[in-house]
Subunit: 502 residues, 2 copies
């Protein structure tokens, strides 16, 4: 008996990955674990890709619908995309190979609010889930599963799939037991009850995932690392964004609109988000909590320094150095971190109740406060909306952050009209760039335009934006609530496509 | 002692409206009762307008910021707008005089999710509330207030305002006592608790509003009717929309995705929404519940027939005939209707928990599933987003309904790109026109486009829409996730502005 698989029933099901993937058929819907580069199945994707390639060599079609927690890594999404093995994908992706296929139009991508994905599956909106492939850290004697470095949609996939393949990854620290809080009392309407969570550090569930052993068709052992990108060092632009944001929090506390220990923070993933965390860590704030999606390196810094006393999330998103640091001190982090299902980490009910401070990156904002988080020049998807909508809509206070320009100044992140809307004018509180911070709360669209242009736009684009508003106001004197020139509103993007310069 | 004002302290404060409005000063923020044409103050607006006009005649400025539950009526918003007395307005408006001022750019309008308005005021996002003017049905001996025909934001305004004027309207039936459920346990983060409601007919609060008597500066007696528009008779187009929608619900029940008595319904206000209610009433469905904003005439029909067994809302929106019918049978409706604060009627926590079926009108949808609920040709606001975002985002299932054309066929309600986004592609489930029903659940943007064009667009616009997608796909082969031609995507709207025809 293997020390990681102590359930007698499930121990009999251990096979190779090559054997396991024989349970996956062309046209299946496959629900995998994984959120950021953490906790995804390490062996199944390559084995399935080989099977797909063999089928292709025989002239047969072999593609699957792939559902996950969120993004995965090159050895999951990447290897399957490389053999054109993914017909459709939800609810999030950041893999470059798969992104190219999505943008070429050969893969159908459903970019969904992460808090919606589990329930929409359960509602039956996505069709049947043929098989789940879920990485775990260990299988206990009674069949309970110790989750690994992400939870994501694992509970739903395990509950709802017809068949289950478990991957037991020896690389994941056995000490993960106790780092998870899996809420098993979700239900379909009309049988839903209040979710009893009132503090980020509260346990409302159990440390284990569960599975009906009769559904488990294979157990595969692996010993392979998670793969997350390293973060870039904090640059001047990110540092300036962080300073504006931290200053503003200070100002809100002083104005009496927020407690000194703030409210639970949520931080998106990426270099700017990491810089904001660094800014908080360098500040006087202390005793904070996080109610967020991902524990990235910056969160460990905050936990280490005591700036953060607790973090609730659904996944780790650590660099190699971050992983080493976490593993070396894992027992010190116990009790300071809980991973939950993404339907709980991102739940509107909880985000609103806790009064989360949401901080998310964006691709662009427009002068009236609409934000584009997903599309480059209106048509190509970058990654996806992820949890940004779950958090922003229900937050006590939300920030959207970005450098004011991109591509060496060729692109303005502040435009007359965003080329795609992910967060509407009704949902955006504060826009921050290295130029400054535009507080849009309580303002009408024209007042927002003044503030966004003055405080967030890059100086070299300010005059053109101001002139746009003035000409739009003049052109239609009875249409000045949100003044636009519809034959010009997207011309900045078109100009970039035509000339490489907005 | 007046039979409607039996509190000794408050009875001493009865004055004329002209006296009462002396407590309102230029530049004040004034929070009024009112939601649809129900429950707004009947005497204050005209008296304040007279005072404003007198000031203006003396060469003095007199404008106020006006906050409400939602829309009001010509004798509230209308009379104040007529003297240019409103400097800014939130969170919703449908008054034509005020709308013209907003669109002329002379009034700042903050068009907000209704579930956000109370908490954003309390968070301090709107600044100080100088005075509240709230209509009630009666004042009880202990100072408790029997609400009138809408609740809206009254609880928050009464709690948060520096001063309060009460209007006691003798026209409102004294039997209203017991029709309301006011939840007084809301709190600011980090002190929020789960809201204990799990069924639409559950009482979680008290039948009364409360006010600190020391803040009440005046009590005014009125005897004036609510004013709601009559509905048009159901026409062929609305009937067809209703039939598609009811058929689809039938189909969902048959597919096992919904119980036979459905899930709580929410219905927007308007003729199409009323037609949908009529369609439900004519169907085999029975024993339904509603968790909605407004009880309109169609809801009374459903309650009378037993199709609906209970309705939770925040307001009545009855025609004159509907009011008479309600008043004549008011005791029969008791126990079948509860009015709540709009922060509760529209609460994301509750909408998601109950699994509401949300049905809302729209101005236009685009082929990729984005919906515009608020703006005509991108710049002029029509009314506002109201509760449509609260319900749609958190619904079990949402529908957006509209005739497929407007202005006698000059405008297509299905366009390449909406000119304003209120509900994003991540949030829209089903689009319904008289042409048919486009079920967009689980689909990628290009698959949505096929379905919207085939099932929802008017035949005379279908080819042009299909050609648009084909040309967009051809133009940028690596940008086919959401194919757009940015120099053409809004050209349909521009063409209408230029030529009167899309």
């Amino acid at each position: 008996m293997n020390a990681r698989i102590t359930c007698p029933t499930l121990a009999t099901k251990v096979v190779s990955a090559e054997e396991a993937v024989k349970h996956i058929y062309p046209g299946d819907s496959v629900g995998i674990s994984g959120f950021t580069g953490a906790g995804y199945p390490k062996a199944m994707p390559a084995a399935l890709a080989a099977r797909m390639q063999a089928a292709r060599d025989r002239g047969e079609e072999f593609r699957v619908a792939l559902w996950s927690g969120a993004s995965t890594a090159p050895d999951a999404d990447g290897v399957l995309a490389a053999v054109d093995g993914i017909s459709s994908r939800l609810p999030y992706n950041s893999d470059p190979v798969l992104r190219a296929e999505i943008n070429a139009g050969s893969v159908d991508y459903l970019d969904a609010h992460l808090s919606h994905s589990a329930q929409h599956m359960w509602f039956g909106f996505y069709g049947n889930l043929d098989i789940a492939v879920v990485e775990v850290t260990a299988v206990l004697p009674d069949g309970l599963l110790v989750p690994s470095s992400s939870v994501g949609n694992n509970k739903t996939w395990l509950d709802q799939a017809d068949k289950v393949i478990l991957e037991v990854n020896h690389w994941q620290p056995r000490e993960f037991e106790g780092f998870h809080d899996i809420y098993h009392r979700t239900a379909l309407p009309p049988n839903r009850l209040p979710i009893p969570l009132t503090e980020p550090d509260q346990r409302i569930g159990e440390p284990y995932l569960k599975v009906d052993p009769a559904k488990v068709v294979a157990v595969v052992e692996t010993n392979a690392p998670d793969r997350n990108s390293a973060f870039s060092p904090v640059d001047e632009v990110s540092r300036a964004i962080a300073e504006h944001l931290v200053d503003f929090l200070r100002h809100e506390v002083k104005a009496g609109r927020m407690p000194a220990e703030l409210l639970p923070i949520q931080s998106g993933v990426g270099n700017v988000a990491n810089a904001v965390l660094a800014g908080l860590d360098a500040s006087e704030f202390t005793g904070l909590t996080a109610f967020t999606e991902v524990i990235q390196d910056g969160m460990l810094d905050l936990l280490d320094s005591g700036t953060l006393r607790f973090a609730s999330a659904t996944s780790f998103g650590l660099s190699d150095a971050g992983v080493r640091r976490f593993m070396d001190n894992i027992n010190a982090y116990k009790g300071k971190i809980l991973l939950r299902s993404e339907e709980i980490s991102n739940h509107p009910e909880l985000v609103r109740r806790l009064g989360v401070i949401a901080m998310n990156g964006m691709i662009e904002a427009d002068i009236y406060g609409n934000v584009n988080s997903t599309h480059v020049m209106g048509s190509s998807v970058m990654n996806g909306i992820g949890g940004s909508g779950d958090f922003a809509r229900n937050a006590f206070l939300n920030f959207f952050v970005s450098p004011s320009t991109a591509k060496g100044g060729a692109i303005s992140s502040i435009v007359p009209m965003v080329s795609h809307v992910d967060h509407t004018e009704h949902d955006v509180h504060v826009v921050v760039t290295e130029q400054g911070l535009a507080d849009l709360r309580g303002l009408s669209p024209r007042r927002r335009a003044e503030r966004v242009i003055e405080h967030a736009a890059h100086p070299k684009f300010r005059d053109a934006l101001t002139e746009y508003v003035a000409r739009a106001e003049a052109a239609r004197p009875t249409a000045r609530h949100t003044p636009h020139l519809l034959d010009e509103s997207l011309s900045w993007h078109q100009r970039f496509l035509d000339s490489g310069q907005m």
